[in-house]
């Protein structure tokens, strides 16, 4: 029963997981591993989730933390860690990349060049999270979120102008 609920939660939030994986891992094979790792971490903590935080806050925290750790350890070193056979838990839909418009492609390129923490911040912002929620997920103040968003906006504007 718990597994069924978990599957339903994952189904409702698969977009979020997909976007985080795509932003932190450019290599498709590593991306598969990251997806697995995120699912495992979510499952490990699923029974402990007590509803004190919002469900989306919990998913973002775990997915982003896993992605940052994975990015620092595995993606950069190209050294696989997940030992489970990828075919067992590969999510077929996740392999499909919808036709992306030019802006999204450029946006992903821009995100790729950001550091680990700025990647997390811009993803949360683009997903239309409120500053308060972004602050809660990342563990910084709302003022700090606003400052960073402004800084990233300037860099982004400059980059899009140059392109």
């Amino acid at each position: 029963m718990e597994k069924e609920t978990f599957i339903s939660v994952i189904k409702d939030n698969q977009n979020l997981i997909y976007k985080i994986c795509y932003s932190y891992c450019s290599d498709p094979e590593n991306r598969k591993d990251l997806q697995q790792e995120i699912l495992i971490q979510l499952w490990n903590s699923f029974s402990k989730f007590d509803g004190r935080a919002k469900l989306s806050t919990w998913i973002y925290r775990i997915a982003l933390n896993t992605a940052i750790t994975f990015y620092r350890n595995d993606c950069k070193q190209n050294d696989k860690k997940v030992t489970i056979d990828a075919s067992i838990i590969s999510l077929t839909g996740f392999e499909y990349v919808p036709e992306q418009d030019e802006n999204i492609t450029m946006l992903y390129q821009f995100i790729e060049n950001l550091n680990e923490m700025d990647k997390a911040l811009i993803l949360l912002y683009l997903d239309d999270n409120k500053y308060k929620d972004i602050a809660e997920i990342l563990g910084i103040s709302e003022t700090n979120v606003a400052t960073k968003i402004n800084r990233i906006k300037k860099i982004l504007k400059e980059q899009f102008r140059n392109n």
Partner: protein, 206 residues
């Protein structure tokens, strides 16, 4: 293009994803998630095993040292060996303490990254002590273990013992220096750099 416009393009993209992404529920259902929990606990398990093994070894060393305490040639290395083992247990205990303080599942991103990377930095630094302790540990432990386990008195073969000590010191410290520099030094620097980035990220103000 403004970030607000991109945000709207991103929302459109999200809708496309909703249409096209498909979760393979059957595979996810079959996935042995419970088993994979074990994979994630490796550092904790490793540290606990290390702690328990060192503790058992300490008890054995104490008993062996007390048994041969009437001979100074065994008493002194025995005491040194016990002290070194206590140092290793202490380092292991510090690592376990750091690990138990980490809330892997419900901490905000910055807090968890800081805790994990502090643990990593400390672990790597403790490795350095372990590397440097090891040659002296081996030299001091050898006589007491040999007499306790095999009733073999290494001091009756002074040439072998002196060669062993010299080789242990030269090779041990050369390897410790080389190993730490090549295996851990870069990782420590990267970890410190990332911790510094986290601190800057956390404190950035207008």
């Amino acid at each position: 293009m403004e970030l607000e416009e991109l945000k709207s393009a991103w929302a459109q993209y999200d809708k496309k994803l909703t249409k096209n992404l498909k979760l393979n529920e059957e595979l996810l259902r079959k996935m042995n998630l419970g088993k994979s929990k074990k994979e994630m606990n490796t550092p904790q398990i490793y540290e606990f095993i290390s702690f328990i093994t060192s503790f058992i070894f300490l008890l054995y060393s104490i008993i062996a040292t007390i048994t041969h305490s009437n001979e100074l040639k065994f008493l002194i290395p025995g005491i040194i060996s016990c002290l070194m083992t206590i140092a290793l247990i202490y380092l292991s205990g510090l690592k376990i303490k750091l690990l138990t303080e980490i809330d892997f599942y419900f901490s905000p991103v910055i807090e968890l990254q800081r805790s994990m990377n502090t643990f990593k930095q400390k672990s790597l630094e403790y490795k350095k002590y372990e590397f440097y302790i090891f040659p002296v540990f081996a030299i001091s432990t050898f006589p007491i273990l040999e007499i306790a386990l095999c009733h073999f008195d290494i001091y009756k073969h002074p040439t072998q013992f002196i060669i062993g000590v010299i080789l242990s010191l030269i090779l041990g410290y050369s390897l410790a220096n080389w190993g730490y520099k090549n295996l851990f030094d870069k990782k420590v620097k990267n970890t410190i750099k990332f911790l510094d980035e986290l601190s800057k990220f956390e404190n950035e103000q207008i």
